[in-house]
Every structure is written in structure tokens, then in C-alpha cells.
């Protein structure tokens, strides 16, 4: 009995005496400071980047590692509140609408053949957009959204999916009529982040410039999905959103638009990706001889400049060769005798950007005909290549968007994140982390996911740190950063 009592006394002593305490615990209020900011109700607005989209899909792990979610986790050290995300149902990605698949699962790196290659995960999506989240969400990033979509009423109307509405917004829109900005303002945020405008140039760029540059056209009814948004529209909508978000005195952070040329989607496929032997090259040259001569002949008549005619000469050599493309910016030509149209062909140069998707298209044959090789004997359509003329349209718009963002950040006294400079650094040698360097090299660079456009979780962690740094700087806060090395990058099947 005595034995037992002694034992109990010791046990009780042990339990009360044992918990060690830090002199200063990171979990104590006051260890980190929010400075002038108030993180108690943080709302994130933006597009796929804000949603945590990666590997060409929205999936659970991507959402958990979205930069707003990471930021909210760190804000929690400095008075931040709950952060609700419109979580999807699985780690597969992809969407259903009433049971019908409307978005594919995520991409994953497969080691099935000789070389690792990205494939779509062979599982079925389970997230159905007819299942509404049912509560207001803090992460209001909508994949695919352009700037004007965030103020568009009905953008979450399920009956408009495929035309005027967005399936991702359908999942958490408060009503069929509402807009993203209206739902955001209704939550009365104390703090917001806004990273929008990427798609206003990116969808044009990733589609190889098949859309139109709408600069000067403010009539949104005429805009197609692959068009470049007018910079004045951009500025007006941006200001409208900041007015709505800051109406109740909320503080916030805004980020500018990175160069499209800094992402692996445009830098992975080389301009000269076609290996040829001597005989193949000779045969191809023979095939293009008539075109080459025709163009030179027309230059002699002054129908096309000598310089352009030379640029249009198709020539293959033994070794790596540029692809043949249709370039709509070349002078339209036809045979003066027959009236027959002469195609606008030229070969790619280092200034052309071939899209990532083309890597699995160039070299394939048309109808199994070995004489009909895409990119070689069969010219590539506009959608596969972003030409220098198209790049200029993109960068003109981007320059104006970024000037607007910078100016409005100043006007509204917001934290400003130079995402353009950061992504440029990733592309130019990389940003070091504790287990290597994040670069824009496809797959192995660890910064970009397999779609070549969206960051990996490591990349998003780096983005979150950039936001936190800028916010700390602007509002004299001391929110801790996070370690990108602790976040995943490319997933292997």
C-alpha cells in the first residue's frame, strides 16, 4: 500500500514538474508582430496562382501549399485568423460537372519509358462543381480568371460554365449573380492580397498568339479567351477592385506580372529541335526548293522585301534544325500567274518561343505518312510558336499592366511584390534554397510544376516569402518566413 502511495506521489510530481518552457516561445502572443497590419481576416484574390494550381490541375496538396495558405499559416503567429480554402475532394485534380469530366487530373512525372515524361494521372476526378462549398472562403483565387472576370457578375453561375462563367468560382460563389470582388468585399477583409493580370497576357502567349491584341478596345463583349486585355481596361478594373477592397480600411499586398518568357512553358523546347541526317536534309531541301525559289522571284518583282525573302528561305542541314512554321506576320503572297496562295512559311530562329506542348507534337506524322512530319515537312500552325511580333504585343501590355500595378500600389499605400524581378532571377541562374537552387529549368529546376507555367509548392513557398517580406517591410511587421526546401516540387508517379 505504502509502495503504491509513494509511486502515485512520484507520478503526480512527474506530471506537473515535467513540461519544459522556452524563455520566449514562438507561440506566445507578441513574439511576432503584425505591425500596422491586421491579419485577422485575410482574403486572397487572384487566378490559378493564388488558388494553388499546379501540374495543370487544382488538387488538395497544391491548395494546401498555395502561397495564400502558407501566408495565412504564418499570419497566425501575428494575429491571423482562420483561413478557409475551397478545397477540392481529392489529390487527383480535375473537375466534374454533374458527373461529366470537364477538367483533367493533374500531371505527374512517369518513369515508364526510357526517359521520364509528364503524363496525366490515370485516375478519375471526384470533385463535382455542383457540390457547393457552402461557406465564404478566404482563398478566392479562381484558376483561369483574367482581371475583368473578377468584377464580372454571373462569373459563378453554373449555367454559364463554358461561356461566361468559371467552374472554379461556381464552387464557392455566394450566388449565381455575384462577382468575385463582391463576395470578397462582403467578407469585410482586414487584409488582402491581389495577384491578377497574368492570364490577360498569358492565355494569348500560351496559345501561341492565336488570339487578338485588344489594346485600344474596351468592349469586353468582343474579347475572346485568348486575347490580350486592353491596358486601360486593366487599369480601370484594378482601381475598381482596390477601391472595393480598401473601402473599410483594409491593408493589403499586390504583385506584378512576371515575363512570360521566364517560364519553362516557353523556354524548354529549343528553336532547333529537329535532328536530321544528310539524306533526310537533302530530301527536305528538295521539297522546299520550289517555295524558296518562288519567294525569291517575288522579291525580284518587289512584292516582298529582299530581307524577308531571305528570312523565308527554308534550309535543312545535317544535325539540329529549326522547325518550319506558318507565320501570319509574314507578307501574304500569291503566285502572280495562277493566283494560287503561297504559304507564309519560315524557319524558327532563337527569337521564337516554341510552346511546351509542341514537344510531343513536333516529329509526329500526319496519318502515319512518314513523308508528312509535323514541324518539318508539315509546317507548324500559329498555336505552336510565339513569334517575336507576338512577344512584343505581350510585353507591351505587360509593361503597361505592371506600371499600373506599381502606381496603384503606391497610391493605395500597399505592399508591393516584384514578382517579375523574382521570376526573372529564377530564370537567370536561380534562387538558392537550403537544398539546392530553384531554377526555371523544366522539371529538374524544381521551381515550376509539370505544366511549365505554375510553380511547384517550393516555388509557391518562395512566392509566399516574397509576399511576407514585402508585407513586413511595408507594415513594420515581423511575420516569419518559411523554408521552401521543406515543400515538395515535382511529383513522380
Amino acid at each position: 500500500m505504502k509502495n503504491n502511495i509513494t509511486f502515485l506521489i512520484f507520478s503526480a510530481l512527474a506530471l506537473v514538474a515535467c513540461e519544459p518552457e522556452f524563455d520566449k516561445s514562438v507561440d506566445d502572443a507578441g513574439f511576432y508582430s503584425a505591425g500596422e497590419a491586421d491579419f485577422s481576416n485575410y482574403i486572397a484574390l487572384g487566378n490559378s496562382l493564388t488558388a494553388g494550381y499546379a501540374d495543370d490541375a487544382l488538387y488538395l496538396q497544391g491548395q494546401e501549399n498555395s502561397y495564400p495558405n502558407i501566408m495565412a499559416m504564418q499570419f497566425a503567429h501575428a494575429g491571423g485568423g482562420d483561413f478557409v480554402q475551397p478545397l477540392v475532394d481529392d489529390n487527383t485534380g480535375g473537375l466534374l460537372a454533374g458527373g461529366t469530366k470537364i477538367a483533367e487530373p493533374r500531371m505527374i512525372l512517369a518513369f515508364e519509358g526510357e526517359n521520364p515524361s509528364p503524363v496525366i494521372l490515370d485516375r478519375e476526378p471526384t470533385t463535382d462543381i455542383t457540390n457547393h462549398i457552402g461557406e465564404p472562403v478566404n482563398n478566392m483565387g479562381v484558376p483561369g480568371a483574367k482581371i475583368y472576370h473578377l468584377v464580372a457578375e454571373g462569373y459563378g453561375n453554373i449555367s454559364g460554365v463554358g461561356t461566361t462563367a468559371n467552374p472554379y468560382f461556381v464552387r464557392f460563389a455566394s450566388s449565381a449573380e455575384t462577382s468575385v470582388i463582391a463576395d470578397a468585399a462582403a467578407q469585410d477583409p482586414t487584409f488582402f492580397s491581389l495577384w491578377i493580370g497574368n492570364n490577360d497576357i498569358l492565355s494569348y502567349a500560351t496559345s501561341g498568339g492565336v488570339g487578338e491584341d485588344r489594346t485600344g478596345n474596351t468592349n469586353l463583349q468582343e474579347y475572346g479567351s485568348n486575347d490580350i486585355t486592353d491596358p486601360n481596361v486593366f487599369a480601370a478594373v484594378y482601381k475598381q477592385m482596390l477601391d472595393a477592397l480598401t473601402a473599410n480600411g483594409a491593408k493589403g499586398a499586390v504583385a506584378n506580372i512576371p515575363d512570360v518568357t521566364s517560364i519553362p512553358f516557353f523556354t524548354t523546347v529549343p528553336y532547333a529541335p529537329v535532328p536530321l541526317g544528310e539524306a533526310e536534309a537533302a530530301q527536305l531541301n528538295q521539297g522546299y526548293a520550289e517555295y524558296n525559289q518562288g519567294v525569291m522571284l517575288l522579291a525580284g518583282f518587289g512584292l516582298v522585301s529582299q530581307e524577308e525573302a531571305e528570312r523565308r528561305q527554308i534550309s535543312f542541314q545535317t544535325g539540329q534544325n529549326p522547325v518550319v512554321i506558318i507565320d501570319e506576320d509574314l507578307t501574304p503572297l500569291s503566285n502572280p500567274r495562277t493566283g494560287e496562295e503561297i504559304p507564309s512559311l519560315r524557319q524558327t530562329t532563337p527569337e521564337d518561343l516554341i510552346v511546351l506542348r509542341a514537344s510531343s507534337f513536333i516529329g509526329t506524322t500526319v496519318g502515319d505518312d512518314p513523308q508528312q512530319v509535323n514541324g518539318v515537312s508539315v509546317p507548324l500552325d500559329d498555336q505552336w510558336v510565339l513569334t517575336p511580333e507576338e512577344q512584343e504585343l505581350v510585353s507591351n501590355a505587360q509593361t503597361q499592366y505592371n506600371a499600373t500595378i506599381k502606381a496603384l500600389a503606391g497610391e493605395y499605400e500597399l505592399a508591393f511584390i516584384d514578382a517579375q524581378a523574382m521570376m526573372q532571377q529564377v530564370a537567370d541562374g536561380g534562387i538558392p534554397f537550403d537544398g539546392g537552387v530553384l531554377t526555371s529549368v523544366y522539371a529538374t529546376g524544381k521551381a515550376f510544376s509539370l505544366d511549365g507555367v505554375h510553380p511547384t509548392a517550393k516555388g509557391y513557398a518562395m512566392v509566399a516569402n516574397a509576399f511576407i517580406d514585402a508585407i513586413n517591410d511595408r507594415y513594420q511587421a515581423t511575420v516569419p518566413g518559411i523554408n521552401p526546401g521543406a515543400y515538395p516540387d515535382v511529383f513522380v508517379k
Binding site: 505504502k2 509513494t6 522556452f22 537550403d434
Partner: protein
């Protein structure tokens, strides 16, 4: 009833690292109460462990001691740069000890000792920030040491015996910081082996310089616990990796280092005795934890421990026929060098405070109780030798640990 109790405890054994490295210095309630001194204290059957040379100086014909020491240990770790904090939820470990010594004749005694000198039980939250180094570990060892002791003359006695060590290990960590399967579950590996045995020895010498002053020295040899064809279970690997990892086994060696103890005890008067011990633990045997998997994969985890010292001080006061009180203190140097502070045994130098008492229920039977409080100073430390792409990736933060060990035992002598 008592027998049942002890055998239940024996089944439940899990030893916990609380001293330098994974040494668990809880080898007797009387001596623990005196700062775990004892190489020159001839008090009870605990001497079979503390100094096998001393048991032939025991006065009683038969002495038996047995006890158990539940360890409640706490590890708190925080990283202020990234703002995270974690607590290890360590299972309560129960090192035990059973000793018996029998006087065969005037000049020879025999003894047996069963004890758990090394072990570890640490459990972090699954997939925590340091999960690429450890999720959980459970190391156990039982030493079985038959002993003989010879009394050379009235002043000098020597002794020793072989030690059979039986060990088991179970260790889980994530294979790196990021790999998951398609469901997003972190890839991890568990290595598990039990019934690993090794042989060593213990030697001791006790010298009664005067009636009041006793000197002692003892030595336990190093033992290398070699796990061979243990089970290695990989979970949540990407499916294209599965083929190489089915039915994997592993080989690994964990050294249980040699330990030298020298000390003195001085009987001041009928009531008071003091004891000093110095221990040297030859931790430099623990250079690296290298795991060799049957699929050809290898995991090298440099430890680079250094030899360490423990300075012990103990005091005994015989208050009455019924009560004996004890107290002690020891300073335990960590064998862990800067940059090798791994979260599986996050031990810096510690200050240790002990106390306890014996209640003599009868002439033959006594209850021994002791407690130990281990205080570690808050320390900023990292483990720098985890690698990604050939680059060292440090892991760490601020550690604040402690442990509390109540210990209870019984002695029987006639």
C-alpha cells in the same frame, strides 16, 4: 504478487534515452538517489552493476535488489526563423534492474545482474518538420551479467563477468523532405529488428583503503549490436519505385559504448557517507549510423560522437533504523558535437538532481525509492549532415528538454 509485478514490468520494458546519447543511467534505486554514484559504495546487490569487484565485501549472505524507473521525458523544439514549434510525445519508458549476490564463502561471491543500460524512446508528430531525420525511434537493450568476485584480502576485492546484451530497434523516418505517393502521403521507411545479441564483459576492483575510505574502479566493454537481415518497410513510395523496395531487409550496427567508472566513498560517521564517481563513456565508437538495405540502397547518418564524462556526487544519511535518506547531483556531458545535434537524441549537457530514501520494513526487507530530475539548458542546435543533392541541409532550432524519473524498488537481504 510481487513476482507478477516484476515480470509484467519486464514485458513492458522500453528504455528511454535521457542521459548522454542513448545511455540510460538508472541502474539501481539506492545509487540513483545518490547521483548514480556507486563504484566505491558497497551497499547492496546494486554493486553487481556498479562494481562487480565489490560484492565479496557485502556482509549479508544473500542480497537481492530489483526496481523499475519510469522515465517521463520531454523534448520541445522551436524554430523562430520559420515560426514553428513541436513537442515530442515520448512514450513513458520503464528501464528496470534486477540484481542478486550470494556469498559462497569468505573469499568468493557470485552474482547476477539484469539491467537496461541503453535505450531510447522518442516519438515526434508524424510528418513533422524534422521527419526526414526521425518520426519515432525505440531502442531497447537488456544486459544479463553473471558475475563472480574474489576477495584477495581485507582491503582488495576484484570481480567480473561476461555480459550478454539483447537488443531491439524500431526506427521510422520519412525518406526525404518531400517525396509522396499519388495520394500525397509522405514516403517513409521503418527499420525493425529484435533479438540482436552481443557479448561483452564487466570488470571491477574495490579497495578499502581504510575503514572509512573505499576506492573503486569498474569497466564495461563496448558492444556492437549488429542487426542483420532486419525488416525494412518502405511505405507511400511513388508506384514506379515500388519494385525495388518490396521485401527489403537491412543490416546496421549500433555501438553500445564502453564505460569506465572510478570513484571513492567516505564514511564520515555512523550516519553520513559521501561518494564521488567519475564516468568516462567511450562514445567515439558511434561515428555514423549506417543502414545498408538489401536492394543496394544505403543510408549514412554521421554522428561523430565524442567521448564524454559524467561527474557524480552522492550523500547518504542513516536517519534511523527504519529510514535512510539519500541525495545527489551529477553533471552529464553530452557526447554530441556541434552540428551533429540530431532530434533522435537531442541531448546537451545536463544538470541532474537526485534524491530518495530507503524504508526498512523489516530486518530483511526494504523499499527503495528515488527520483531524478534532469535539467537541460535551452540550446540552439542543428544537425547539419542530412544531404540533398550532395548539399548539407541543416535542421534544428531551439531545444528545451527535461526528464523526470521516479524510481521504486525493493531489497531483500539475509
Amino acid at each position: 504478487m510481487k513476482r507478477t509485478y516484476i515480470s509484467v514490468m519486464a514485458v513492458l520494458i522500453t528504455a528511454c534515452a535521457y542521459a548522454g546519447g542513448y545511455r540510460v543511467a538508472l541502474q539501481g534505486q539506492k545509487q540513483l538517489a545518490m547521483g548514480h554514484t556507486g563504484v566505491a559504495v558497497i551497499n547492496s546487490a546494486e554493486s553487481v552493476f556498479f562494481n562487480p569487484g565489490g560484492i565479496s565485501f557485502l556482509e549479508k549472505k544473500v542480497t537481492i535488489s530489483a526496481g523499475v524507473s519510469p522515465v517521463i521525458s520531454n523534448i520541445h523544439l522551436q524554430n523562430s526563423r520559420y515560426g514553428w514549434s513541436e513537442k515530442a510525445d515520448n512514450p513513458v519508458a520503464t528501464p528496470f534492474n534486477v540484481y542478486a549476490a550470494v556469498k559462497i564463502n569468505d573469499w568468493m561471491s557470485a552474482g547476477i545482474a539484469v539491467y537496461t543500460p541503453y535505450g531510447s524512446g522518442v516519438e515526434y508528430p508524424k510528418d513533422w518538420e524534422g521527419s526526414h531525420l526521425i518520426n519515432n525511434i525505440e531502442l531497447q537493450s537488456i544486459y544479463i551479467q553473471p558475475t563472480v568476485s574474489f576477495r584477495i584480502n581485507d582491503k582488495l576485492s576484484i570481480g567480473g563477468g561476461p555480459i550478454l546484451a539483447i537488443g531491439s530497434a524500431n526506427f521510422n523516418r520519412n525518406i526525404d523532405r518531400t517525396t509522396t505517393n499519388a495520394e500525397g502521403e509522405r514516403a517513409n521507411v521503418t527499420i525493425d529488428d529484435s533479438g540482436v545479441t552481443a557479448w561483452g564483459y564487466s570488470l571491477g576492483l574495490a579497495f578499502r583503503a581504510t575503514d572509512d575510505l573505499t576506492l573503486g574502479v569498474s569497466y564495461k566493454s563496448e558492444m556492437k549490436m549488429k542487426a542483420k537481415d532486419g525488416k525494412a518497410e518502405f511505405r507511400n513510395l511513388p508506384s514506379t519505385a515500388l519494385g525495388d523496395f518490396d521485401n527489403t531487409t537491412f543490416n546496421a550496427t549500433l555501438p553500445l559504448p564502453a564505460e569506465l567508472a572510478v570513484g571513492a566513498s567516505y564514511t564520515i560517521d555512523e550516519k553520513w557517507m559521501v561518494a564521488f564517481d567519475y564516468n568516462r563513456v567511450y562514445w567515439d565508437a558511434y561515428e555514423s549510423l549506417d543502414v545498408f538495405f538489401s536492394n543496394g540502397q544505403e543510408s549514412h547518418n554521421p554522428r561523430n560522437y565524442k567521448n564524454s564524462s559524467v561527474y557524480r556526487f552522492g550523500l547518504q544519511y542513516i536517519a534511523s533504523e527504519r529510514f535512510t535518506l539519500r541525495g545527489g547531483y551529477y553533471y552529464d556531458e553530452s557526447p554530441v558535437q556541434p552540428g551533429y545535434f540530431a532530434p533522435e537524441t537531442p541531448r546537451n549537457d545536463s544538470n541532474n538532481f537526485t534524491g530518495g530514501l530507503t524504508v526498512n520494513i523489516s530486518e530483511r526487507f526494504a523499499i527503495d525509492a528515488a527520483f531524478l530530475y534532469i535539467h537541460f539548458d535551452e540550446v540552439d542546435a542543428t544537425y547539419d549532415h542530412y544531404q540533398e543533392n550532395g548539399q548539407n541541409v541543416p535542421f534544428g532550432g531551439t531545444y528545451k528538454n527535461n526528464a523526470f524519473v521516479p524510481s521504486i524498488g525493493v531489497s531483500y537481504a539475509f
